[in-house]
Symmetry: D3
Subunit: 70 residues, 6 copies
C-alpha cells in the first residue's frame, strides 16, 4: 500500500489502554527507545487486532507534526 503521509516508521505495540469508546496505544519505534502514542476508537483497535508485541507502522500527516525548539 502507498499513502500520502510523509511519516512512516516501524514500531512495536508495548501498551494498550481501553476507555469507553477510545483506546490509547503506545508503541516503541523499532531499534530505539522512543515511544509514541496513538489514540483511536475501540472499533479501530479491534479491526487492527492489535495486542502487545504487534508490529505496526506509525503514520502522521506532515501538517499534524509540530516542531519545537528546546
Amino acid at each position: 500500500m502507498k499513502h500520502g503521509a510523509r511519516n512512516d516508521i516501524p514500531a512495536e505495540v508495548i501498551e494498550i489502554k481501553r476507555g469507553g469508546v477510545m483506546a490509547q496505544v503506545t508503541v516503541r519505534l523499532k531499534g530505539t527507545d522512543y515511544r509514541m502514542s496513538s489514540v483511536m476508537t475501540l472499533d479501530s483497535l479491534s479491526e487492527l487486532e492489535l495486542k502487545e508485541g504487534s508490529e505496526v507502522h506509525v503514520l502522521a500527516k506532515a501538517v499534524n507534526v509540530l516542531l519545537v525548539k528546546p
Copy 2:
C-alpha cells in the same frame, strides 16, 4: 515547557523546502535513520529560526497518529 502531546522526540533538521506560504521541514530522529516531515507556515519557520542542522523536538498529538499493519 510542558505540553499535552504524548509524542516528543529529539531530532535534527536535514532539509527545508519553501513554498508560497508553507514550508516543509524534514528532520531525522536523533540516533536513528528515521525521517519525519513537518509542514508549517513560512511565518512559523522564521519565528523558529530553523535551518539545516537545527536541533528540534518533534511533537504530535496522539489523536493525529495513525497505526497501520503491514
Copy 3:
C-alpha cells in the same frame, strides 16, 4: 493493509493542483457525485504517483471529522 482510521472510501482522482510545496488533490467518491479534497506535500504526491483517473481510498481519522447540522 489494515489501518486505524474509521473512514475508508474508494474514490477516483479528478483534479490535481500543484503549489510550491503542497498539492491539492480532488477526488470523486465511487458511484456518487460527492467530491472531497486532500492536501498533501508534492513529495507525497509523487510517491503516490497520482494522476487524473487514479483509483485511491480516502482516509480520515474519526477525530478529524466534524458533523454539522444544517
Copy 4:
C-alpha cells in the same frame, strides 16, 4: 453558513456510542452505503442534539484527509 472546509457531504446518523467524555457517531453518506465515523466530546454531542436518524453534514479539512493506493 459558509466554511473553509473543502469537504462537505450530507449524511444520516446511524449509530451513537457514548464513553466517559467522548462519543463516536457513525453516519451513512446520503444515497450511498459509505459510512464514516466522527469522534466528538459528549458536550458537542448534546449541543448538536444528535440521535439516530438525524440529518447532518460531514466536514473534514482537506489537510486531514489522507489518500492511499490499494
Copy 5:
C-alpha cells in the same frame, strides 16, 4: 448552524497571504489583541469570499487544541 466543535470564537480577518494552492488567513479575536492563523486552500478562501475586515468565527476541534505550561 450547529457544529460538533467545542471552540467557536468571533473574529475579524486582518491579513491574507496567498500561495500556490494554500492561503494563510490571520484573524484577531473580537474585543482582544489575540491573533490566530488559519491555513486553507485558495478554493476555500474564494468560496468564503474572505477579505480584510470580514467577520468570521474561528473553529477548532478540541482534539486538535494543545495546552502547554509556560
Copy 6:
C-alpha cells in the same frame, strides 16, 4: 520554548472532565469570556499537572483552524 504553531494564547483552566483514557479540559482565554476545550489523554493531563486555576497556553496548528462565516 519556541514552536511551529501560529496560534498561542494565554488561558486559565476552568474545568476538567475525566473519562476512561481521555480528558476534556476547558479553559478561558485570559482577559476575555471566550472558552476553548482541549481533549488529551489522561497521561498527558497528569504529566501537565493541570487543575482548575492552572495557567496554560493554548496552541493550535493553523492547518487545524477552520474559519466559518455566520
